[in-house]
């Protein structure tokens, strides 16, 4: 069979195909409504919900709920008739499958293992995702766009969230499911997996690029400077910029919020930065210490 058809019709992968279709559809629907509302606002019209009335819950809402429930139950039933859940061979601790993949919704995190050591990819970054999500209502002090779809009134928060959700979370999941084969090597979905394929890809460390041995004291100091500069510079530069551009915004945010926002943002951006370093410059580590590597 065509490898592409094969990989997207694997029973568990059908869920990922459904996810891609559903997410694309709802992403389009959300942005379509956002742009529609923005246009209404710009031309002075009221948006939906601004002047609406109470209606009885019974039956309008209950009817919709019933219909949706029936559609969902019907859909899941058809899915369950059409596709059987796989049951592989009995668990065998002595036989490691290649590739051994985590459940699909954690494949984005597993993908991060290419770029970060496990303590970052598997523990620190996922924890910070949860912390960041929890923090959203408390760090986003823009009162606009509460209760309706809009883009123009909350451009930056929507762009940052969308980047995290669609690219760093969902796209990495899709890559993990469809593009990672034996040895966690990259395979296009239409490529046949080859368990004997070996890719010789010598990696280097950041300090090696300027000729300093990364496991030496000099490499350690250089790495510390780079990582420190990223964190401290990332903290100070936006502050200086905003101080000039809109000091009242900084005033409203306050120090705690500012530090939280910028810390979460530069942590998030460290993911694509490290990916580029690894993929383009073949840099494995930026900073090697006796205790951990970044």
């Amino acid at each position: 069979m065509n490898p592409f058809i094969e990989i997207i019709t694997q029973p568990d992968n059908i869920a990922i195909v459904i996810m891609v279709l559903m997410v694309s559809f709802f992403m389009a629907w959300a942005f379509q409504q956002a742009l529609h509302n923005d246009k209404l606002r710009a031309t002075g019209y009221a948006i939906e919900g601004e002047h609406d009335q109470d209606v009885d819950t019974f039956k309008p809402l209950v009817r919709i709920e019933l219909i949706i429930s029936l559609v969902v139950v019907l859909g899941l039933t058809i899915w369950s008739i059409a596709v059987d859940a796989p049951l592989e061979e009995i668990a065998n601790p002595t036989l490691t499958p290649n590739p051994a993949k985590a459940p699909w919704y954690f494949l984005g995190l597993q993908e991060l293992l290419v770029y970060f050591d496990p303590w970052l990819a598997g523990v620190v970054l996922p924890s910070l995702i949860v912390v960041g999500l929890l923090a959203i209502p408390y760090i986003d002090i823009n009162p606009k766009g509460n209760g309706y779809y809009t883009f123009s009134e909350r451009k930056y928060s929507i762009m940052i969230f969308s980047f995290g959700f669609f690219i760093l979370w969902l796209l990495l999941i899709v890559i993990g499911v469809f593009d990672r084969g034996p040895g966690w090597l990259w395979y296009w979905p239409w490529q046949e997996w080859d368990t004997h394929r070996v890719v010789f890809e010598p990696t280097t460390d950041l300090s090696m690029l300027v000729g300093i041995e990364s496991r030496s004291l000099g490499g350690f100091i250089l790495g510390a400077i780079v990582v420190g500069a990223y964190l401290i510079g990332g903290m100070i530069l936006p502050y200086k910029y905003w101080q000039k551009k809109s000091p009242e915004l900084l005033q409203q945010l306050g120090m705690t919020r500012y530090v939280t926002i910028v810390f979460l943002f530069i942590t998030m951006m460290s993911v694509p930065i490290k990916m580029i370093l690894r993929l383009v410059f073949l840099v494995k580590y930026v900073w090697i210490t006796p205790w951990f590597n970044v």
Partner: protein, 255 residues
Amino acid sequence: MNSLFDKVKSNLIWKSAFRRDYRNNVRDRALAIFGNVFLHLHPVKVRESAVKLRYTWGMGGITFLAFIILTITGVVLMFYYHPTVDQAYSDMKDFEFQVPYGVITRNLHRWGAHFMVIVVMIHMFRVFMTGSYKAPRQFNWGVGVILLVLTFLLSFTGYLLPWDQLGFWAITVGTNMGAATPLLGYQGPFSEYLHITPYNDIRFALLGGARVGGNALLRSYIWHCVAIPLIATILMFVHFWRVRKDGGISRPQNN
């Protein structure tokens, strides 16, 4: 036919269950909601815009429906399942080949679980895009984030239960991450200063052992079937309650 209907409806047993007739008037439309233990989750009246499918996409409700479907199919699965290394896998085979509708019940549970993870993420996306986490709903967004994490954990703990190669290695890969926890995992940074070994680290606590085995299977089973559903149910009560108390489905403020 009508007279038969009337007879049933005037019957003592029927009347004890359904206290009053439904006539299409304001009072009965309200009573249909708050006189019903399941429907009284809803307010009697809602804003017209809140009922619009294009606003909420019904995603929160669909997530809850998926949870109910999973609870029902999960309970059926539990009747036939022993969480032991010797029996788990053969129980799955038995369930598929010997139990009537076993295959479709297991399929519903598996695909329903994938579906729930998908819709809960889309629900979060919708709530974000409508800015519904903003005041006064900040706290409920937090409850929702915890429920999202619990949904992942529910699915994750269920992965191991069939005791097949897929689940065994997915859980091995997943819990190996725990070993890398700073301070608390034996491979994590700084853990040597706390004398952390593979036999006392966080991964050991998750698995009940240094590798995935019988204890891990039992722990998965109890987390999956009892502990996480209990916690999630309590948080769902809070989540739904707060939707009501924070003013219902969000909508533009200026009216």
